[in-house]
Structure formats: C-alpha cells, structure tokens
Amino acid sequence: MNTEWFIVLSALLFATGAIGILLRRSPMVILLCLELMLNAGNLALVAFSRMVGNEQGQVFAVIVMVVAACEVVVGLGLIVAIFRRRLPLNVDDLRELRG
C-alpha cells in the first residue's frame, strides 16, 4: 500500500477525534477522543517511518504511547476527583478556571 493511503486515513481519524472533542460534553468521552487524535498521529509516524525505511519513527510512536498513558492516568484521576466532590461531569458546567 502507498504511504499516502495511511497518511490520509490518519488525517481522517484525526479529524474524527477533533469532531468528537467539539461535539461531546462528557469529560470521559473527550479523553477518549484525545486518544483517537494521538493514535492518528501515531499512525502517521509509523507510516512515515516505513516510508523512510528507518525504525526511529517507531520509537517515537512508542514514546507517544507512554505520554498518552500518562495523560489518561491524570485525566481519569481528575474525573474521579470531580465525581468525589459531587460536581457535574460536564465540561460546560466546570468553567471555574475560565478567565
């Protein structure tokens, strides 16, 4: 398969994740959509690494996975903390940090 196909698919997945972030209001689903976007980036990295014929892009993808795991852990910790304080799990109601 041409590299182009993989890159266009990754752009499509990235745009889908972006639509989800703009559309949904539950912080959990927004985190899932962030995962979609990170994974789309990973697909592009691996596709380009195959195109160049060098494994270093795959190492980059592994590091992105680590960062994504950290993001999930902190995000889910925040969601649990919000839930414990009986606050609504809705990003439009949680606007205290907005300027």
């Binding site: 890159i7 596709a47 195959r50 195109m51 014929g53 795991a69």
Partner: protein, 171 residues
C-alpha cells in the same frame, strides 16, 4: 491481499472512531475505542511495525482500556444533557472537522515528498521487531527513554494525589 487487509483494518479503525463519538453511553464508547485500537494494531503490522502493534494491543487495548472501564463503572455513564451552550454546535463541529480533514489532505497530497506515492524501500526481515526497537531505545534514545519513565512515575503519583480521599473527608 495487502490492499484487502488495509481496507478491512481502515474500515474497522474508522468505524471504531465514529462509534466513540456517536455512542450515548460512555461504556459503549470505550468498547468502540477497543475496536479502533485493534484495527490500528493491524495497520501497524501492515507497516512492519511488529513491536508497536504488540504494545498497542497489550498496553492500550489491555491496560489503559481496563482503567477506562473501571472509571466508567465507578462514575456511571450519565447521559449528556441535550442543552447546547453554543447555538448550532451540532452542525458546526462536523463542519469544522471536515474542513480540518480537507486541509490536512491538501497538505499531504500536494507536498513535494515523492516517496509518498511509494510503498517505501524494501526492508530486511527484522525491521521493527522488539530487538531492533529495544536496541534503538537503549542506545540512541536512552535519554528520552529514561525521561518517559520519570514521566510515568510522575503521572502515577499525580493520579494518586488527585484521586485519593482527603483526610478530612473520611474523618
């Protein structure tokens, strides 16, 4: 054969992604994301990235998704209100997303990278296997490797601090 596999995996990945944003219940969104991750692992295998595909299934579809399922079960999948704070959000969001996709596609397809239209060079048998990735991580990329391990430690400690019950709450 390769093209057939690519399209099957691409449809799976895209279907999973659409499922994540279309499902009302967060639990089903998580299940759709697992479908998406497995399809992506198949795509990584097509790109001869065996280690990344294995890590995707074990770390992502295994460990991270279990974490999600636990939190969804703990918090409960409350339905979202139909109230829209921004008028026309439901129509505007897909429009902006499609604009983003068109923009990215134009950027890719009109780039001067001639190799984009090829399959990439022929690679030797061990390309992207755990031994090759491990050698790169421990020789060329030792510093990012150690930095990411510190980041994981920080994230674990941070999550405990964030989610732990406060003393005065329990007392």
């Amino acid at each position: 054969m390769e093209a057939v596999l690519f399209f099957i995996a691409a449809i799976g990945a895209l279907g999973g992604a659409v499922g994540v944003i279309a499902m009302r219940n967060p639990f089903y969104s998580v299940l759709a994301l697992i479908v998406h991750l497995f399809s992506l692992a198949a795509l990584f295998l097509l790109l001869t990235a065996a280690f990344v595909a294995a890590a995707q299934v074990v770390v992502y579809a295994g460990a991270v998704m279990v974490l999600y399922v636990f939190v969804v079960a703990y918090v409960g999948g409350g339905g979202e209100s139909a109230w829209e704070p921004i008028p026309g959000q439901r129509f505007l969001a897909p429009l902006l997303g499609i604009a983003l996709f068109v923009e990215l596609s134009v950027a890719v397809l009109s780039s001067a990278l001639l190799a984009l239209g090829t399959d990439g060079p022929d690679v030797k048998a061990g390309f992207g296997d755990p031994a090759a990735i491990g050698r790169l991580l421990l020789e060329k990329f030792l510093l990012p490797f150690e930095a990411s391990s510190i980041l994981l430690l920080l994230a674990a400690v941070g999550a405990i601090v964030l989610a732990a019950r406060r003393r005065e709450e329990t007392a």
